[in-house]
Amino acid sequence: MFLDYLYAAGFAIAGFIFLLLALWVGALVQPKDPSGRKLTTYECGEIPVGQPWSQFNIRFYVFALSFVIFDIETIFLVPWAVVFKDVGVVGYVEMAVFVSVLLLGLAYAWRKGALKWAL
């Protein structure tokens, strides 16, 4: 099993070697002239105005926070799912309680309009 992880890591390393190779070959043959306006950021051909950062919608954060919570729930669901056939009805009820508590949370978020994307 440990060997399989080694293979997977080896595959990733092979990918990175290809990447470095491509960048290196590119650097050999590309023209290099970092000058003038091409070093500014893109703004439809105009000179960029103001700061690149602008005020973002706070909903992004609420969604990210909800994502973390449900992601942790999936971590509990996966070990349950693979042993489901062994644990039977008792396991099902235990998980149903677990999931319904979180569904309650989802319903609350829904009701309070946290899942609505509006300003």
């Binding site: 440990f2 992004f60 954060y61 990210a64 973390v68 070990p79 042993v83 235990e94 677990f98 309650l104």
Partner: protein, 171 residues
């Protein structure tokens, strides 16, 4: 385990552990907050490699899935959403740096002494094959109370998230 695994495991373990320490230091010492978050993610990645070497494959994947894939992403959201603080590099330390370091050293010394003093059960039967099934069964039998309480904890966090979003948008 065959001989090749035995040979390569301890060296890889040391390298991953060292990488984890270096990245952990980076996470608290780098000047750019975004780089700190990246360093933290790299630290979790190295830690998950350590878990793989310890035959705890489920834990290793969960480490990446939850910490790298969710929690550090949440931190990055927070960094991007707050006003641009990366262009000005931030000093991560204040006048409490020396007491902090001392406290950390004391904590480390305490942990090391406890680890050395306690006797560890050694597993005779060799590595477990399907850790995820063992975890699943234990979750639903031995640790079922903790498992159900975890859902309430997650519910509390979700309610908190909803409330936070509502408070801010109202202002």
């Amino acid at each position: 385990m065959n001989w090749s695994e035995l040979l390569s495991a301890p060296l890889a373990f040391k390298m991953l552990a060292a990488a984890a320490v270096v990245f952990a230091i980076g996470a608290v010492a780098l000047k750019n907050v975004f780089h700190c978050a990246l360093s933290l993610a790299a630290m979790f990645f190295a830690l998950s490699g350590v878990f793989v070497l310890l035959d705890a494959d489920f834990l290793a994947v969960v480490q990446i899935l939850v910490y790298v894939g969710a929690i550090v992403v949440l931190m990055i959201f927070a960094i991007v959403l707050t006003e641009r603080i990366t262009s000005a590099s931030v000093r991560q330390t204040n006048y409490l740096v020396i007491p902090g370091v001392l406290l950390c050293i004391a904590l480390l010394a305490g942990l090391v002494s406890v680890i050395r003093a306690s006797s560890w059960p050694s597993l005779e039967s060799g590595p477990q094959q399907d850790t995820i099934k063992i975890i699943g069964r234990q979750l639903l039998s031995t640790h079922v109370e903790a498992f159900e309480v975890a859902s309430v904890l997650l519910l509390a966090a979700l309610v908190g998230a909803v409330f936070l979003g509502k408070e801010i948008t109202r202002k």
